[in-house]
Assembly symmetry: D2
Homo-oligomer: 342 residues x 4
Amino acid sequence: MIIVLKPMATEDDAKQILGKIELKGLKPLFMPGVERIVLGALGDERKLTELQLAAHPMVESVKPILTSYKQVSREMQSHDSQVAIGQGKSKTIIGGENFTVIAGPCAIETKQQIELCSEIVSKHGGNILRGGAFKPRTSPYSFQGLEEDGLVLMRQAAETAGIPCVTEIIDASHVGLLSQYVDALQIGARNMQNFRLLKAAGQSQIPIILKRGMSATIEELLLAAEYIYNEGNQNIILCERGIRTFETRTRNTLDLGAVAYIKNQCHLPVIVDPSHGTGIRELVSPMARAAAACGADGIMVEVHNDPLSALSDGKQSLNESEFESLMRGLKPFVDAAGKVLK
Amino acid sequence: MIIVLKPMATEDDAKQILGKIELKGLKPLFMPGVERIVLGALGDERKLTELQLAAHPMVESVKPILTSYKQVSREMQSHDSQVAIGQGKSKTIIGGENFTVIAGPCAIETKQQIELCSEIVSKHGGNILRGGAFKPRTSPYSFQGLEEDGLVLMRQAAETAGIPCVTEIIDASHVGLLSQYVDALQIGARNMQNFRLLKAAGQSQIPIILKRGMSATIEELLLAAEYIYNEGNQNIILCERGIRTFETRTRNTLDLGAVAYIKNQCHLPVIVDPSHGTGIRELVSPMARAAAACGADGIMVEVHNDPLSALSDGKQSLNESEFESLMRGLKPFVDAAGKVLK
Amino acid sequence: MIIVLKPMATEDDAKQILGKIELKGLKPLFMPGVERIVLGALGDERKLTELQLAAHPMVESVKPILTSYKQVSREMQSHDSQVAIGQGKSKTIIGGENFTVIAGPCAIETKQQIELCSEIVSKHGGNILRGGAFKPRTSPYSFQGLEEDGLVLMRQAAETAGIPCVTEIIDASHVGLLSQYVDALQIGARNMQNFRLLKAAGQSQIPIILKRGMSATIEELLLAAEYIYNEGNQNIILCERGIRTFETRTRNTLDLGAVAYIKNQCHLPVIVDPSHGTGIRELVSPMARAAAACGADGIMVEVHNDPLSALSDGKQSLNESEFESLMRGLKPFVDAAGKVLK
Amino acid sequence: MIIVLKPMATEDDAKQILGKIELKGLKPLFMPGVERIVLGALGDERKLTELQLAAHPMVESVKPILTSYKQVSREMQSHDSQVAIGQGKSKTIIGGENFTVIAGPCAIETKQQIELCSEIVSKHGGNILRGGAFKPRTSPYSFQGLEEDGLVLMRQAAETAGIPCVTEIIDASHVGLLSQYVDALQIGARNMQNFRLLKAAGQSQIPIILKRGMSATIEELLLAAEYIYNEGNQNIILCERGIRTFETRTRNTLDLGAVAYIKNQCHLPVIVDPSHGTGIRELVSPMARAAAACGADGIMVEVHNDPLSALSDGKQSLNESEFESLMRGLKPFVDAAGKVLK
């Protein structure tokens, strides 16, 4: 339920009502706005009826939240959320007027490789470095990542370049460890419904980039975000990275319609991963442009100093000149979208 | 096989070689270029080997066409094809630097309705009027269209507005009838592999807008185009209109990655239908922008003077102010793509 | 609407009511049963309300048909339909207690080939010969079938073997031609929503085997059958042949759950095509057994005298010993299902 | 690589060769058979070449394993694996000639509920009790399970009934805890590529029922099993539970073709979940029969004492009489398949 208070209602009025909501066993939410205070109540809505809040002198209206996701919906918060990644000088805001470029290799491989990648990313206008240290690989015989050693290398490279960095988390028990090295955690497509991991991520305050599962519906993605949000972490960025369909020419089918849909329904920032979304180097740049055009708040792309020798995903990784070209070609579309590349 | 002739080769040399190809039972293709002549040979490639063309003094190179589609591939023709729709003043070119907007109602319903729609389309910069007269409907109990009567009405409306018009063809025997009234024929998703219809369309010279089937792979779409092309009609425009996936929030999943892929592999113009591709009015405009951004040559959108009373597809149709807003919002993205809205 | 008459109602009562229904512009349906007469009325149900049939002395109940498909639904006819294919001695009934095996090559290739295939089919208990003469092929450069010449050959082979035969129809104008040679027509997956073809098939009385489209929902399949039924041809057999999914190891995903679902909702016979449904020879037999187990009324399988030299679909075709083995292994499952292999 | 030793080779010969393999950094596998010893070597196959094993006097042949999955493939072990679940009297073998029925509620709700369910299952011939205690739910606001309290209740109920029990594991750290209460662990569809969980499961010896992910390919399922197997736990049962497709009438599309395919390629037992596979009570029994017919080693079905009041999945749960009917109807098909219901 969303409870809109009258303009003259004070914070004390709000507290009093929130107290009643809590007594009924529902989760109270306090959302002060510019013009008036909005309250929320999550849980068994029949119990709320007993409070007869619609008749309360300070309540203007009481309306149900029609979607299954609540706190991440535009019904609950109509303005865009923004999420800060990184500290001090390297702090980057995702959402609002910003169009953010997260780039880097699929996997951290060597000190030299991550340093070169980091240089390429920052030199050509990328905002955040990405790199995998704990890799979820389909086969047990594939390279599984450098683990903590890799994180040490990426942290150094990112600091040298003066940009924040992000890596994928694959186990609920790793939140603490990874938070020592990176500024944001990525939950990958295969773990989008690993609810233990979602809850652990929600109990932290580190920004979470939540990727859509390969066959997850839009609603399931928003409910996965709701898991994190409901635990108390509001620093969530959604990421469309392609869904699995019958089409085999492209690695996945990048669902930009979902991006436009989510931007309408949900207040969280949404970014797009055209590298996994297509799996083909030549398509990364056109799909990055299309992402900007349909309303996305940024992109995440794979960049490697030497894609031909990459230990994973070389086919979809851009080299320096391709990344430089992507950034240059992207700008007019970000401008057209009324956003800013920083 | 593609046979590239040496710069000094004359048209007579080409004719002589084409004659040999034909004698072997293969289909000869003549493709004069600015710098040199290129020839093609379609059919059993083993027979071609017998000609030992690589050793011919006027032949520079002989290489196989690796894709299953031949004549529509960039291997056979590296430059973009352009297709003219309409005659005289109302002639519109699709492809090249043009970004074309085809718009109109799902179905022609009444004289007044198609006239109003036509006015809306032309007034706000649409280039071509669309309207269905023979409707392929899932249920036999749904409105099946006004048939020839509808075409008469649309023709009049289009002429008044000074723009060409297009309608869907659903039967091979209708090519002649429909060609009397419209400037281009649309082959719908359900008929993309109606090979009789493709062949009949190929035996005409009327421009064909070929929509991708709901579960057609990119390769199958290009092979369907090849059916038309191989019969002699090169005036083909491909149209991505969304594929069927597990996602149910949007009517279809608009596959813009396929557009970027096809633009790389095939020389035909490609347009995008964001109305069917999303099924949701609010998503039409963002996806039209994304289409321009990923390299499409135009869009096809549903516009209705009164969407709430539309006999079909009202939920995804734009009214006048929404169409006006789409056109205004689209322009910066078409500019960014280096194309022109006329 | 379904109008159930009281037990004492006569056919004259029924006729009188049907007359009223027709006058209102609805399609009247007469369905005499063992215990009582049931009437149907298709069309704008609001008009029916005006008749106030529920108050008619001979009417027991009036209830709406909740599904979008009407005449093929179990709501309209609760008992199983049966369809006879062939004449005289070679007549075969599909549906009821029968489990029917339709077998033969993908394409008719030569006189000898179709004769050998026909022998194999009839010798090992197959009931109906299948063979393609007009082939819908993805590429224009693939073998397109022997057309009428092939039909002549198959008709002779089928008569020699004493079994009926069936072929695919790909154009609405062919109904008459094909009906001269074969005992049933197959509408393939690519044409399931070729509504012109469905209507033409419905205007004949020849049995129609309607295959599910590659991405057709169950509801769309039943509505396609409704197109045929509504034109007057009730001799319809549905065929599940696999749908298109992300899985690439099998050619299609055979949806036997759809068979069980349709048997619950629709009174038409349903058969299964495990050859196209899997695309892998080794899987044809286990999936034929599963078809019998889940309630199907028969199977359609590809059998070839020499699969390795088949012009199409060799990979999924059974040779004589494999077909013999399939028939032997199938019997216990048909028995368990309470059906009969004849 | 698979290294087949000559008939006269001794175990000492095998050990010597295995030692060489290990020295090269590959994983050595010892697979003694009835007629001869087979060895395996997993890892960088180029290193194996250096050993020139083909020339070794005791080696008959050396051949590569062509599939990406190795230890679970039929290439490595041609005979069927069997997995024992439970101890002593209640021990049940899955695989071989057995057709195993695992049944019980989606979630453990109360002491009485799990006792009643357990009684129903054992009374009508079910072999193993299932029940969820840690539930992976799409929404954070849905019932999440009784956790350890639920396991205590299920253990008691299963012991009273004299059958083993199984529950789902959703976190790698729970292996020890859950193993105290249940005889097998189920890894659900959403966690099929939770590689941390797979590895943890592989480091135990408790039997694992690994369910196919909603959009997992057959190959990905087998590679997920390989993760468990490669850690040392060979007690793996695969479970087909339906994949996600465009079809919405059924909850999922049960892919029985995958079962037949896997039985050909992989030596592990395979069971089928027709409850999740269809989501519709009426379809559970026909699909259970089809599972038996296509070669599955058992089924897992949802049974509830009172489906209408079930906290989750009531729509697809069978009540006592429906379960009794399923078991009765299933028997002839299990017989036809040459298997045994115990």
